[in-house]
Amino acid sequence: MDYFFTEEQQMMREVAREIAEKRIRPVAAEYDESGEFPWPIVEAIAEADLFRVFIPEEYEGMDLGTPVTNMCIVTEELSKACGGIALAFAATGLGTMPLLVAASDEQKKRWLPRIAAGTLAAFALTEANAGSDAGSVQTRAVLDGDHWVINGTKQWITNGGEAEIYTVFCVTDPSKGARGVSTIVVEKGTPGFSFGKKEDKLGIRASATRELVFQDCRVPKENLLGRPGTGFINAMKTFDLSRPGVAAQAVGIAQGALDLAVKYSRERHQFGQPISGFQGLRWMLADMATKVEAARALVYAVARWIDSGQAKRTTTYSAMSKCFAADVAMEVTTNAVQIFGGYGYMKEYPIEKYMRDAKITQIYEGTNQIQRDEIGRGLIAAAAAGE
Amino acid sequence: MAIRVIEEKCNGCGLCTKNCPQMAIAVDNKKAIIDLEVCNYCGACAAACRFRAITIEVDKQAQEDLSQYRGVWVFGEQFRGKVAPVVLELVGAGRKLADARNTELAVVVLGSDLSAAARELSEYPVDKVYLYEAPELAHYDGERYSRVLGDLVRALKPEILLAGATTTGRSFMSQVAIKLYTGLTADCTGLEIGDDGLLYQTRPAYGGNIMATILCPYTRPQMATVRHKVFPLPPKRTNGKAPEVVHLNVKPQLHSSRSELLDFIEQVETTVNIVEADIIVSGGRGIQDPANFALIEALAKALGGAVGASRAAVDAGWIPYAHQVGQTGKTVCPKLYIACGISGAVQHLAGMSSSDTIIAINKDPDAPIFQVANFGFVGDCLEIVPLLTRKIEALRGRA
């Protein structure tokens, strides 16, 4: 279906699709197995200018005013070939969003051109005791002269250890709860900043997930984004922008699996005919395709609406896109494995990986339960406001 | 230059339409119409027409008396004084052409210290061997070589000049043909003298999916490069006189070159040069792991063959590019090609489908490789190949 992307957006899609097909697909299984970080592909993505698509032009980006839609287009295309490798890109987008949301012009000048050129970023909020309850972070930042001194541990940080630029959420005023959280940029190599072991995951195995450990880590005062205490709001605003990206990752994974399933159904013969000849199977494919298209339509509708600057109750819709697309991805990839039958269960075939990769989209950047909570709350709030 | 349909002769049969690679011909009202905007004058239609209703007129004639050109020459490519195997194959082909033209067959060798090469050549049915010996010519240098051979051709006027389609042959002959303003046909698989006395040169194009026969009617010599293994080695000379060996002097002004050889990194493995091998054992994606290439190598060694590979195996970094067979690698035609775990993409088939015998081992019974294989074995090559190697070694041991 034609989503009437602009000419530039179509170019972004073509550029991403070529990387996905030529560079990612041939090596996706290898990286999935080794869990190695896909640096050669990240470099190719950078050389192709794709890290520029969510960064404004004045900071050497090429967002052309539609960063969220662009981000979704590229993430979807890359995810069709490998949801894990795509995450190196998408998580950099996520790590960059707090800068777009809250950074001063000077701060943007410092970091955005580097990210545009391919320096990876990461978003560091989650802690052992602050998952869905993101307001209860404990990593502490104390002002000491011209520096913030950070202590604490962040958990399961995507791009952790590989990224250079981290947007870290720290408590600067413990007396204020969630309103005492601030966003501070920490660069890799800062003394006192180290990484824990790399996590061994079910899916998205090409993506690096690590602990960030801060021990008396001193960063310049001017690395704090916005005003102190705005961290939690920054995080929520970031999620409003980034959740369609996760949704796009889910759509990409689902579409990738669907494409393989359709192809396989035409090649695999049983009872003297291709299995695509069986109505029961065609109906499965039909439901899968319909759901993928519905998810995609929702994702791009939400992304465009956010980019328009006119969006109201962004959280509700952004949550809808993420929640719906992630559920679709899980269902479609599971059914794709089913269509492959016994072969689908074997690692020798590419399809089971899609199912493993899909699962995370229901969990991260807010579990789908949290998303539903947000959507429900939004509905009630809107009704209460007489909207 | 003009292409024209002779309306009186055309009956609208449409053969030309079907043969036009440009899809430039339509038949309307029982006459062929050529779209001149699309036509690229390739001549396929004229060649296909049974009624000689399409003519391509080139306002062209020979600029000199072509009958002064006599004799068939073979470029005697040598490496470190040893004649390349393809040269001997060309001697066999050249002998037939020379006999058909009732003329002599000569081999021209450039190098330094060519006595061994001359001796080797004298065992074959050659009439003359021209030797250019100079230290500067020891190793191929396009600039020097093409000046030397260009001069010799101008002076002695051979009618036909053949060379192997090796990296050297292809580069070298291209330069000579441009200098002499004459035609060169690359990678010929068939050479014949027609009733008109011209050399009919047949070659594959479009990855071997189409064959074209090419002439060089107005200029001399008629030049062609020929692939390895297309022509059989000729029998050695049993009687008749030994070839006359002519030593030629290189004019000093031909010595200069803008290129300087700094180093030669020889690949010592005998399993590399796949184009010269009689037997090739090739591995593809089904090999799964670089370490498993040892299995392919072991079989190749047991059979005395070379190791080939599909593009998938080369792109995965399992084996160097020099081993790649196919459209973006080498074209081979060994006596026996054993494809192990190669699915047989068209690009691969383009490089090996003219092998005499093809054996394919592949897990997938529907793999396209089985459509060209004389003998197909449906199974896992990783299991079958080592078993086979052992059996062959046992057979050899017994012998």
Partner: protein, 265 residues
């Protein structure tokens, strides 16, 4: 440094076949592409340019092709892959050119561009001749290096390259200006970049005709070609033979006896 790359637009697949039922020529997916070997040539040219620019030297890459008006598409694709500009040689007089006339026309165009380095692919996948690159060098009286697998060094006066030949690699230093043909081993081509695509869309590509390159018609196209195609036909069709299935041990036995029958063992 001025770098030129000669490319050819070829069918996206070489699967041109005769359909034996209808006796027609069938081209599956007649889309066109840049000849794959030329993509390696272009990539190498762009890498040389980028290296020189990093060292503070000026360098540009111009792509050149001879073909019908639609070959412009291949040139735009080349710009998306990092070339700066492009020239299309298109004239009815160029049609029907064999390798002599093709290399002549390209050389005449290059004479106007005055490059220091010319890159070509080692051959085109439709014609498979490998003759045009060396031909251009002779027409221009440039030095040449064919089958280049690696550039070892480059300065203003000479280039050192590693050539892939049958017996191994030859390392030679060649004086500029030079024409090189490259093999696949030389690099791994990039995919198009976003900025490249935008440049490609904006680029104005001049079309040069015979008169623009000061080429007399008798040296161009079919008229200028010493060779003529007199017959085009389908090669003998290869039929798949017998297929065996079974346990590995059985199959290996069968194979061993087959090789004995074929007198290989």
């Amino acid at each position: 440094m001025k770098i030129c790359v000669c490319i050819k637009q070829v069918p996206a697949t070489t699967e041109v076949k005769f359909d034996p039922e209808t006796n027609t020529l069938v081209r599956e997916g007649v889309d066109s592409q840049i000849n794959p070997f030329d993509v390696y040539a272009l990539e190498e040219a762009v890498r040389v340019k980028e290296r020189l620019q990093k060292e503070g030297e000026e360098a540009t890459v111009t792509v050149l092709t001879m073909g019908p008006p639609q070959a412009e598409q291949a040139l735009r694709e080349a710009i998306s892959l990092g070339a700066d500009d492009a020239v299309l040689l298109s004239d009815r007089a160029f049609r029907g050119a064999d390798t002599w006339a093709t290399s002549y026309a390209l050389a005449q165009a290059l004479r106007k561009l005055q490059p220091d380095l010319v890159f070509c692919g080692m051959q085109a996948i439709d014609g498979d001749t490998g003759q045009v690159g060396p031909g251009i060098a002779v027409h221009l009286d440039y030095a040449q290096a064919t089958y280049v697998a690696k550039i070892e060094a480059l300065d203003k006066r000479k280039i050192t390259v590693r050539r892939l030949v049958e017996q191994g690699y030859e390392v030679c230093a060649v004086r500029l200006p030079v024409v090189m043909t490259v093999v696949k081993e030389i690099n791994e081509p990039r995919t198009p970049s976003l900025r490249g695509k935008m440049n490609a869309k904006k680029a104005r590509i001049p079309v040069w005709k015979a008169a623009d390159i000061e080429a007399p018609e008798e040296k161009l196209g079919l008229q200028g070609s010493p060779t003529q195609v007199v017959k085009v036909f389908s090669p003998p069709h290869r039929e798949g033979g017998e297929k065996w299935t079974g346990e590995p041990e059985e199959l290996a036995d069968k194979l061993a006896s087959l090789l004995k029958e074929l007198e290989v063992v």
